[in-house]
C-alpha cells in the first residue's frame, strides 16, 4: 500500500500532461497528410480529370466541358496511328524488358564478383541511370545523327560500312534505336536490383551446389535464378513500366517518325492532346496506358509478397 502511495506522489513531477508526441492517432494523420495531399493532387485528380476529358470535347482553344459520350474513343479506334502506337508500345516494352533482364542479369553477375577497381566499374555502370532521360536522349540523338554519327564513322573506319546508316531515318532501324536507348538507360537499374537479390543468397547454398557437383550453368539455372526469381520479376516490371510510360526517348530521337513507325501511346497522346490541342482525344489515348500499368503494379506487389515468404 505504502508503495502505491509513493508512486502516485512521484507521478505528476514526471509529466502528466499528454503531449502531441504521445497522441499516436493524431500524429499518424499529421505525418501521412503530405503524401495524401501529393497523391490526391498529382495522381488521383489528374486521373479523374483524364477520364472526364475523354468523354468530352475539351480542346486547348475551348476548355468548356461538354459531354460527348464515347465519340473520342470511336475516333481513336478509327485512327490507324492509334493502333500502330499501341502495337509499338507493346513491342518496345516486350523487347526492352527481355533485353533489360538478360543484360541486367549478366551485369549483376559481374558487379557482385570481387575484382580490383570494382567501385569504378559500379560507378560507371550506374551513370546511365542517374543521367536525366532528356539529356542522355539528346546525346543519343547526336550519336545516331544521319551525317555526323560517330558510330557510323567508327564502322566506316574499320571498313564495315560504306555509306551512312540513317539510324533514325528508316522505320526498323529507328525502332531498334529507340529500344537500344531504353535498354541502355534501364539496364543499370535492373542490374542493381538483381545484384541485391544475388547478394541475399546464402553463400553456403552456392557452395553446397558446388560441392554437390553442379557446374556454372546448372548453378545458374537451378539455384541462382529460381532463388532470385521474385527480384528478377521486380526488375523486369520496373523496366517494363519505365519503357511503357516513357515518351521522352521517342519525342527527342524521332518525334514518332519516320511516318509514325516509332509512335507510342504516350507520345501519340502528347502530340494529339498537347501539341495538336485536342485534349479530349489525348486523354482518351493516354487512358489506354492504365489497364497495363494496373496489371504490372499487381504483378510487382505479388512478386514482393513472394519474396517475403521465401
Amino acid at each position: 500500500m505504502a508503495e502505491a502511495v509513493r508512486t502516485e506522489a512521484v507521478l505528476p513531477a514526471v509529466g502528466a500532461r499528454r503531449r502531441l508526441s504521445d497522441r499516436e492517432g493524431a500524429l499518424a494523420w499529421l505525418f501521412l497528410l503530405p503524401s495524401v495531399v501529393y497523391i490526391v493532387a498529382l495522381v488521383a485528380l489528374p486521373f479523374v480529370l483524364a477520364i472526364g476529358f475523354s468523354f468530352s470535347d475539351v480542346t486547348a482553344g475551348d476548355p468548356s466541358f461538354d459531354w460527348v459520350g464515347v465519340r473520342n474513343y470511336r475516333r481513336i479506334f478509327d485512327d490507324p496511328v492509334f493502333w500502330h502506337s499501341l502495337q509499338n508500345t507493346l513491342v518496345f516494352t516486350a523487347i526492352s524488358m527481355a533485353l533489360i533482364v538478360v543484360f541486367g542479369k549478366v551485369l549483376a553477375n559481374i558487379l557482385v564478383a570481387d575484382f580490383r577497381g570494382k567501385w569504378l566499374v559500379r560507378f560507371l555502370v550506374l551513370l546511365p541511370w542517374t543521367t536525366p532521360v532528356a539529356l542522355s536522349s539528346i546525346a543519343w540523338l547526336w550519336l545516331l545523327d544521319s551525317v555526323y554519327s560517330p558510330i557510323d564513322w567508327v564502322l566506316r573506319q574499320i571498313g564495315l560500312l560504306q555509306t551512312n546508316t540513317y539510324w533514325l531515318g528508316r522505320p526498323h532501324l529507328a525502332m531498334a534505336s529507340v529500344i537500344a536507348v531504353h535498354v541502355w538507360r534501364l539496364v543499370p537499374l535492373a542490374a542493381v536490383i538483381m545484384m541485391a537479390g544475388l547478394v541475399a543468397i546464402p553463400k553456403e547454398v552456392q557452395e553446397q551446389a558446388e560441392v554437390d557437383g553442379a557446374g556454372f550453368w546448372r548453378r545458374m539455372f537451378e539455384i541462382t535464378i529460381p532463388l532470385t526469381m521474385p527480384v528478377i520479376a521486380v526488375a523486369a516490371l520496373f523496366g517494363a513500366i519505365f519503357t511503357f510510360t516513357d515518351m521522352t526517348v521517342v519525342y527527342i530521337l524521332t518525334r514518332g517518325g519516320p511516318t509514325n513507325s516509332t509512335q507510342v501511346l504516350a507520345s501519340w497522346a502528347f502530340f494529339r492532346g498537347i501539341e495538336g490541342g485536342d485534349v479530349a482525344q489525348g486523354a482518351a489515348i493516354a487512358l489506354f496506358l492504365f489497364p497495363l500499368l494496373l496489371a504490372a503494379a499487381i504483378a510487382i506487389l505479388r512478386a514482393v509478397r513472394r519474396m517475403e515468404v521465401l
Partner: protein, 349 residues
C-alpha cells in the same frame, strides 16, 4: 591407403598476413571418424574447406583416395559436405534436394535417381517428408535431409562442418547419437569439425586438436584426454579444464576429478596438498570445489570435481587436505607448454 590426406598444408589470407593453416600433415584411415576440434579461428573450418576444394591452399597438397586433388574443383573430388546451416535448397522439395547431387553429376536416369534418393531417405527415416519444402521442417529433420543428400552420391568422405551447432541443447544429444549411428551403418570415412569437446569426445574415433593453424595433438579421445600433448590441449579439453600448478619451472597438471579429499584417494602413491576452499558449486550431482592449493608449488587457484559418491563434508572458508594419485599427475614445460617428465621435480606434499 588413406582416404583423405593433407601434406604440408598452408593457407594464408590477406596476402600472407594471416596464417589460417600453418603447416598441417594429417591422414584419415578407412572408415574412420576423425574430429577436428579447436576454438573458433583455429583453422579447422578452413582445413575442411580446403579438403572440399572450396579454398585453394597456399602450399601443400590434398589427396583423396591416394590421388592429388589440389586445384581440382569440389565436384571432381568425390566428397559430400554438410554445412553448419545445412544449406538446403529452399525452393526445392526434400526429394528434389536429395536428387540434386545425382542430377548434377549425371549418368543416372530419372527412375534410378529417385530410387537412390528414396533409399537414402529410408536410411534416415525421412520418407514421409519427401514432398515438403525445407522451411516446413524442424532443425533435426533438416539435418537428416542434409545427410541424405550427402549420402546419395556414395562419396569417398563426408565432410561435416559443425552440423549440430544450429540445434537446441536438448536435440543436440539425440542428434549426436543419431549421427554416430548413421556413420557406423554406412561406414564412410568422416571428417567432422567442431568447437565442442563433448561432441568431439563422443563422436570421434580420433581427435585432431587444432590451435593457431597447427595440429597440437592427434589421437583417440582417451589418449587426448588422459595424456594431453601440451597445456593448450590440457586446458581446452575437459570441463572444468585441467589444473596447472607451477612447480620449479615446470607445470604440474591434474584433472579436477582426480583432486579429491585425501580420505577418498586410494593407493599409497599420492600427492597431498592443502586446499583453501572459497566456493562450492553443486552441478548435476557433482560438487565443484573452487579454492587455492598451497604446499606443492606456487599457490594456485584450482577446481576439484567431487562425484556424488564422495560424501566427505567440505565447507567454504575452510582448509581441507586434498590429494591426487601419483599416476594422475601430468608434467609440462612452463616455457613451451609441451609435455615433459616428472624427472627432477620435488612436490612439497
Amino acid at each position: 591407403m588413406s582416404v583423405v590426406e593433407v601434406r604440408g598444408l598452408r593457407k594464408d589470407f590477406d596476402s600472407g598476413r594471416v596464417h589460417a593453416i600453418d603447416g598441417i600433415d594429417l591422414a584419415t584411415t578407412e572408415g574412420e571418424y576423425l574430429v577436428l576440434l579447436g576454438p573458433s579461428g583455429c583453422g579447422k573450418t578452413t582445413l575442411l574447406r580446403t579438403i572440399a576444394g572450396l579454398e585453394q591452399p597456399t602450399k601443400g597438397d590434398v589427396l583423396i583416395g591416394g590421388r592429388i586433388v589440389t586445384g581440382l574443383p569440389p565436384r571432381a573430388r568425390k566428397i559430400a559436405m554438410v554445412f553448419q546451416s545445412y544449406a538446403l535448397y529452399p525452393h526445392k522439395t526434400v526429394l528434389q534436394n536429395i536428387v540434386f547431387p545425382l542430377k548434377a553429376s549425371g549418368g543416372m536416369d530419372r527412375a534410378e535417381r529417385e530410387q537412390k534418393a528414396r533409399w537414402a531417405a529410408g536410411l534416415l527415416t525421412i520418407e514421409h517428408l519427401l514432398s515438403r519444402k525445407p522451411r516446413q521442417l524442424s532443425g533435426g529433420e533438416r539435418q537428416r535431409v542434409a545427410l541424405a543428400r550427402a549420402l546419395v552420391r556414395d562419396p569417398a568422405v563426408f565432410l561435416l562442418d559443425e552440423p549440430l551447432s544450429n540445434l537446441d541443447a536438448k536435440l543436440r544429444a539425440s542428434a549426436r547419437d543419431e549421427l554416430k549411428g548413421f556413420q557406423q551403418r554406412v561406414g564412410t570415412t568422416t571428417i567432422y569439425v567442431t568447437h565442442d569437446q563433448t561432441e568431439a569426445m563422443g563422436l570421434g574415433d580420433r581427435i585432431a586438436v587444432l590451435y593457431e593453424g597447427r595440429v597440437r595433438q592427434l589421437g583417440e579421445p582417451v589418449e587426448v584426454y588422459d595424456h594431453p600433448a601440451d597445456t593448450f590441449v590440457a586446458t581446452f579439453i575437459g570441463s572444468p579444464p585441467m589444473n596447472l600448478v607451477p612447480v620449479d619451472g615446470r607445470l604440474v597438471g591434474f584433472r579436477p576429478e582426480h583432486l579429491l579429499p585425501t580420505e577418498d584417494v586410494r593407493g599409497a602413491e599420492r600427492t597431498t596438498m592443502p586446499l583453501h576452499v572459497d566456493r562450492i558449486e553443486y552441478l548435476s550431482g557433482d560438487r565443484h570445489v573452487y579454492g587455492t592449493v598451497t604446499g606443492i608449488g606456487e599457490p594456485t587457484r584450482v577446481i576439484a570435481r567431487l562425484p556424488a559418491t564422495v560424501t566427505t563434508p567440505i565447507a567454504a572458508g575452510e582448509t581441507h587436505t586434498f590429494a591426487v594419485g601419483a599416476d594422475r599427475l601430468r608434467f609440462f614445460d612452463a616455457e613451451s607448454g609441451q609435455r615433459s617428465t616428472a624427472a627432477g621435480i620435488r612436490l612439497g606434499g
